[in-house]
Subunit: 401 residues, 2 copies
C-alpha cells in the first residue's frame, strides 16, 4: 500500500493548522574539520527554543548519498516519493519560471545555439548570449503557429528559453535534438512512443519555422530542444491529506512546485516578513502553510559561509511572528543541504524539527546538525515528514484495529 | 526479495532460545512539556540493567506518523510487513475473542440494531444493549442453519457479536450491510467479487432467519453485518524463521494474532507471574517465546499516567525470572506507544532493547524514550526486529558469498 492510499483512508478533518517552514538548502558543513556548520555558527535563539520545545531529527531528502535538485527535494518534503514521482526537465523549467502547466501541455527546454553555413553546430549555447539579446529573440518565436495546437514561448536567461506545446494527445516522450557536441547538425525530434508522435511532428515544425525567424541572426540562429515532458501526475494535497494548502513563496520555482501538488499560491510577498504577513492574512482559509525561504540555498551555492550564517539569522528572526499564530504543528526543515564548503546541493541529512503538543520532546536544546541528528526523530526519509505532520495535528486515524 | 524469502533461505537451526517480551503500548509521553514519560518515571532497575548490558533503539510500528491497531502492531513485531499483510476487521474481531479461523472461514462483525415497524433503523447499536441481554440473543442465533455451510455465532460485548461462515469457496469480499445512518433500512450483503457471491447469499439467508428469531425483541430486533473477511494468509513462523514458537498471553486477541502466524498457544496463565511459569515449563519444547503484557496499554488508554507507571514497574519486576532462564536473545519492546497524555495508541517510536552476547552494547544505561531513541540500534521499522532476533541468536547464515 502506498503512503497516499494510506493517508486517503486514515485522514481526519479538524481545525488544526500546520506550518511548514522550509529554509532552502538549510544543512551545511563546517569550513574546516571539527568546526561548526553555518547553522551551528548562526545565533538562532528562536530556533533553539523550538528545538528545546520540540523533537529534532535529520531529514534524508531522497536516499542516503543522493543530492536532490529543487524538484525532488520539495516533492519529498511534500510527501511524494521523489524516486516515484518524476518531474521532467522541461516541466521543471516551465514550473521554475512560473508557467502553470495543464494536462494538455508538453514543456521543452530550449537553448539558442549557433549553426555554420552547412548547418553544423559551432556553439551549443550561442556564445552564452546575454538575456537582453536572447529574450527578444525568444519572443520573436511567438509568431510561430502550429496546426491544431497552441504554443507558448517563454524567455528564461541567457541562451535558455522554454516552449510549451498545448493540444490533445500530446505525449511527452520525445528525444532531445541536442547532439551534446559541436561539428554535427541538430538532431530531429524523434518520438519514443506512439503517443508522442504528434508532439515530435509539432516540435519539428516549430524548429523549422523558428530557423526561418532566426535566419538573420549571427549567433542565435537556431536552437536545440531538450527535456520534453508532460505535466507530472501528482495526486493533489486536498485529496491525499485532506488539507487546504497555501504556498507562500517568493520565487516562481517554488510556487510552481507547490502548484503541481495542488496548493494555492497565495499573496505576492517579496520578503520573509511579507510572507509571514500573508500567512497571517489567510490563516483562517487554510489548514496547511508552506513558507519557502530561498537565501540559505543561494548563499550556500555562492560558497559564502558568512552570508549563509546571516541569512539563517534572518530566518530565525521571523520565527516568533509565526509562533504567535499558534500553529498546532510547526515544522522547520530544508529541502536538502547546500554547504557553502561544497557550493552545491548535497546529500547530507537536513536538520529538522517538529513542535506540537504530542511531539515528544527530546534532549536537544540547539537547532544544528550535530544535535538534530541525534534527536528523537532519528533520521528519516523526507517523504515521511507529512505523515508526522498529520499525526501531530491529530489528522490521522489509527491504522487497523 | 522479501524478508521472508531471505530468512527462508538463510535460516540456521541451533539450540538458542529467543524471548520476546511485549509490553503493549509501552512508549509514552510526558504529562507536560519537558517532563518524563511513564517509562522514564517508573523505577525500573531490571530494565535499566538490560539497557546497560544490551543495545537500545526505537521501533517504528508501521511508518513514521502511523498509529497502529493491535493487529498491525503485532504483525510488525512478528516480522510481517503490516502494510502488506492486512487482517480484515471481521477476522480481527474473531481473533480477538479467541476464535481460531480456518482457511474455509469468513468472519463478520455484527451489531444488534433496532428497526421500526417499516424496517428502518432507529438505533444502530440497539441502545447499547448490555452484554447480559445481548449474549443470550447472540446464542439464540446459533439455531440458524445454512445450506452447505457451517455457521458459528459468538457473543462479544454489548451490541457486538461475531459470525463465522465455514464452507468451500467462500470469498471474504462482501459489502457491509450497515448504512452508517438511521432512518433507512439495512443494506443487502452485496458481493464485491465473483468468489464472494456464495458468501453474500449465505449472509442474506443468515440475516433473514436471524430477523425471524429476533422478531419478539423490542430493541435488538435485527443486526448489521460488517468487515467480512477471510483468514489472512500469513506464512507460518516455523517455515519463515525455522522457529518453534510459543505464545504466552492472557488476552484472547494476542493469542489469536500469535495463532495466525503459526505460534502454539501455551498455558492458561492469568498473570505475568503465571506467564513466566509457563515459559519455564515449556522451555525445552520451543525456540521462541512471545510473552504479552497487556496493562501498559490499557492504563495508557485510560489516561492514567500513574497506573501505567505502576504497571511498568510490575513488568520490570518480572525481568529477573526471565533472565534466570538464560535466553540467548532477550528482546523488550512494545507493539506501539500508548501515551496516557493521548489516551490512545500513537505513532511514537517504541523504546526497544536487545540483550545477547553479540548485540554490541551502546552507551545507554537507562530504559526510556530519551535514551533508547539515541541508542545503538537507531530507529528502525518493527518489521526488521525478527531479523535482529535471528541474527543475535546465530540463526541466520551469511547472505551471498
Amino acid at each position: 500500500m502506498d503512503m497516499h492510499q494510506l493517508t486517503r483512508e486514515l485522514q481526519i478533518h479538524n481545525d488544526s493548522k500546520i506550518v511548514l517552514l522550509v529554509a532552502d538548502g538549510l544543512g551545511g558543513l563546517p569550513q574546516q574539520p571539527g568546526g561548526l556548520t553555518e547553522l551551528e555558527t548562526a545565533r538562532t535563539p528562536n530556533l533553539d527554543r523550538l528545538a528545546e520545545l520540540g523533537i529534532s531529527g535529520g531529514s534524508i531528502p531522497v536516499k542516503p548519498g543522493i543530492s536532490p535538485g529543487s524538484g525532488p527535494g520539495h516533492l519529498g518534503l511534500f510527501g511524494y516519493d521523489p524516486l516515484h514521482y518524476l518531474i521532467g526537465r522541461g516541466a521543471l523549467e516551465a514550473t521554475g519560471i512560473g508557467f502553470h502547466l495543464t494536462d494538455q501541455d508538453v514543456a521543452i527546454r530550449c537553448n539558442f545555439c549557433t549553426l555554420d553555413a552547412s548547418g553544423k553546430i559551432t556553439d551549443r549555447r550561442a556564445g552564452r548570449i546575454p538575456t537582453e539579446q536572447s529574450a527578444p529573440l525568444a519572443m520573436r518565436l511567438r509568431d510561430i503557429t502550429l496546426p491544431g495546437a497552441e504554443v507558448f514561448v517563454e524567455p528564461v536567461k541567457e541562451h535558455r528559453f522554454v516552449v510549451v506545446l498545448r493540444g490533445n494527445d500530446l505525449g511527452g516522450n520525445v528525444k532531445d535534438t541536442d547532439p551534446q557536441k559541436t561539428g554535427v547538425p541538430l538532431l530531429d525530434p524523434v518520438p519514443m512512443s506512439p503517443e508522442s508522435e504528434r508532439t515530435a511532428e509539432l516540435a519539428a515544425e516549430f524548429a523549422r519555422q523558428g530557423a526561418m525567424l532566426l535566419a538573420d541572426q549571427e549567433k542565435a540562429n537556431a536552437f536545440s530542444m531538450r527535456g520534453f515532458s508532460a505535466k507530472p501526475e501528482l495526486p493533489p494535497y486536498q485529496e491525499v491529506y485532506g488539507l487546504r494548502a497555501a504556498a507562500i513563496a517568493v520565487y516562481p520555482m517554488y510556487k510552481g512546485l507547490a502548484k503541481l501538488v495542488g496548493m494555492d499560491i497565495v499573496g505576492e510577498a517579496k520578503s520573509l516578513e511579507e510572507q509571514i504577513q500573508v500567512v497571517r492574512d489567510c490563516w483562517d482559509d487554510y489548514d496547511f502553510f508552506f513558507v519557502h525561504f530561498k537565501y540559505t540555498d543561494s548563499t550556500g551555492e555562492d560558497g559564502d559561509f558568512d552570508a549563509k550564517v546571516q541569512r539563517i539569522e534572518e530566518f530565525d528572526a521571523a520565527i516568533p511572528s509565526v509562533m504567535e499564530l499558534k500553529p498546532a504543528v510547526t515544522i522547520v526543515t530544508g529541502d536538502h543541504s547546500t554547504p557553502s564548503f561544497l557550493k552545491a546541493h548535497s546529500w547530507h541529512a537536513v536538520p529538522t524539527l517538529i513542535v506540537a503538543d504530542a511531539c515528544r520532546t527530546d534532549a536537544c536544546t540547539k537547532f544544528g546538525e550535530t544535535e538534530s541528528l541525534r534527536g528523537g526523530l532519528g533520521q528519516f526519509e523526507a517523504k515521511y515528514l507529512m505523515l508526522l505532520a498529520l499525526a501531530n495535528a491529530g489528522r490521522l486515524n489509527k491504522y487497523g484495529a
